[in-house]
């Protein structure tokens, strides 16, 4: 298994498209950093709305590395599923396209083993992608903008809130958020892998994955009560942004924040478990489908 995984990782590292994802992330992050360095105040004014007329605060200090990373992740984690799909959707369909699938399965490797190794390789790629995001969006932003207390702007139902997290309470939230994002993106990797079993080339599964993510994301954010109640809880896209829960800090009845606390840990845990269940079901389905796949025709 380990040897097989090494081979899979080697194959991924040799594909040019692997590096497209890393280059795309670096480019998007750089553009954000440049834009905020040049005119971050405009964004801050937009987010502050009427509050800027009533309160004074240090806007320069507010645009720091922690705030930047949150803004970048907020935007990027909608696009990253596409980048994950680029690799994961190629797992089986790429082999089929090149004619190596039959050759591969003629080796003393079970189909279950092969699917699990392909899934593990896609997961490792996802982890590296997120580590790259952590380096560029968080560490590089800290180098450029420095550190400080972190502002989080949030809409909760009909209300809008501004939360402030002190700088000594931020980093553990990022560790947790990146770990959660790894699980969330692994669901996409599993979905792409499943779809790639049905195709003979990788374009189809990539497009199919992207379409599923886009449609489900729209449904998850549509805010129609009947959909919220009956459909939204069953869509994995409703839980992809659960990483933000780590930045919703707990408060006392008087509104003051409690350092080191989370507003709703049970909800985050539930989301995490739902995502893990999705991974289990999708990977299980992939194994079942692949074991029955006719590779001779």
């Amino acid at each position: 298994m380990w040897r097989l995984l090494q081979i899979e990782l080697f194959k991924i590292s040799k594909r040019p498209r692997t590096y497209i994802a890393f280059i795309a992330i670096a480019a998007i992050v750089s553009i954000f950093q440049f834009a905020f360095k040049a005119d971050g105040q405009s964004y801050m004014d937009l987010m502050m709305q009427s509050a800027k007329e009533e309160f004074t605060f240090d806007r320069v200090q507010a645009i720091n590395g922690y705030f930047m990373c949150y803004i970048i992740l907020n935007t990027l984690l909608i696009q990253v599923p596409i980048l994950v799909a680029l690799i994961a959707a190629d797992s089986i369909s790429g082999e089929a396209n090149m004619g190596t699938l039959r050759l591969l399965l003629s080796k003393p490797v079970s189909r279950t083993q092969l699917i699990i190794v392909k899934f593990a390789a896609a997961t490792i790629f996802t982890v590296f992608l997120l580590l790259w995001m952590a380096v560029t969006a968080l560490l590089l932003s800290i180098v450029i903008f420095g550190t400080g207390d972190m502002l989080v702007f949030r809409t909760k139902g009909e209300d809008s809130q501004i939360m402030l997290i002190t700088q000594d309470d931020v980093m553990w939230r990022y560790y947790a958020a990146f770990a959660y994002a790894t699980v969330a993106l692994t669901v996409i990797a599993a979905l792409s892998l499943l779809l790639s079993i049905f195709a003979e080339n990788s374009i189809g599964p990539i497009i199919a994955t992207v379409c599923i993510v886009i449609v489900c994301t729209i449904i998850s954010n549509i805010n129609v009560p009947v959909i919220d109640r009956n459909i939204k809880p069953f869509l994995f896209t409703s839980y992809l942004v659960g990483w933000k829960g780590f930045f919703y800090i707990g408060t006392r009845p008087d509104g003051s924040t409690i350092k080191g606390s989370l507003e709703n840990w049970p909800a985050i845990r539930k989301s995490l478990l739902i995502l893990l269940a999705h991974i289990g079901v999708i990977v299980g389905a992939s194994v079942l489908v692949f074991r029955r796949k006719d590779i001779l025709s």
Binding site: L151, K156, D159, L164, G242, T251
Partner: protein, 226 residues
């Protein structure tokens, strides 16, 4: 004839009471004027419906006539813009107002003299200030101010060690707030399924500052206020 005498005495009485109000304000102002500048440590607690912020350790700087700065040296603090009025000098400075005696009222167990200040300038932003003054200590315990453009605000002061300078140990500043709404579709928030009913709209915000370590009349650089 008796009626005429009664009217004249009544008029004189009212005039004397007005002078008393002016006199009391002058005495309070004289006490406030003892402080040319100060620097103090403070702990600021902000309670506004849409703001979720921790208690902040702040530095408060004041310089006559009305320069005031509240600064969080370790991080970010949201300071209400009207907080400049926590400098009582800004309320009683100048003489462009008419002081009207409005009797007595109790703040806690302290009997206070209530004096209303009406600006003589028709275009002044402040429409009315009501001061609750402890006559024995010559300090303002509570001040309510109504403005033309910036709503109403209220100050409540608790005095201790620095009562001789008219500087409070604790100050509660209550002010009007507007609705805060983020533009739709920019945040993509995590719906954790918790109660998403709108919070009760409390139009008043509150900032509490507990002062300590006053350094009085030792000079404060102008650059602090820039």
């Amino acid at each position: 004839m008796k009626l005429l005498i009664a009217v004249i005495l009544g008029f004189c009485g009212a005039s004397l009471q007005a002078q008393d109000a002016d006199g009391l304000i002058k005495k309070v102002k004289a006490k406030i004027d003892l402080v040319n500048n100060y620097e103090a440590d403070g702990i600021m607690k902000t309670n506004v419906t849409f703001l979720k912020v921790p208690e902040a350790q702040v530095k408060i700087y004041f310089k006559k006539p009305n320069l005031l700065r509240i600064k969080n040296e370790k991080g970010i603090s949201f300071v209400p813009k009207g907080a400049v009025s926590i400098n009582l000098n800004s309320i009683v400075s100048g003489s462009q107002y008419t002081a009207i005696d409005a009797g007595y009222d109790n703040i806690g167990s302290v009997k206070t003299r209530v004096i209303k200040l009406l600006p003589t300038d028709d275009n002044a932003d402040v429409v009315l200030s009501t001061l609750y003054i402890d006559e024995a200590s010559l300090v303002i315990l509570k001040a309510k101010t109504t403005t033309r453009e910036n709503g109403s605000y209220q100050l409540e002061m608790i005095y201790g060690k620095y009562i001789g300078y008219g500087l409070p140990d604790k100050l509660t500043f209550t002010f009007n707030t507007k609705d805060y709404k983020l533009p739709k579709g920019v945040t993509f928030d995590f719906d954790d399924g918790s109660n998403n009913q709108p919070a009760q709209k409390n139009k008043n915000g509150k900032a509490e500052i507990s002062f300590s370590n006053y350094t009085i009349n030792k000079g404060v650089a102008d650059s602090i206020f820039k």
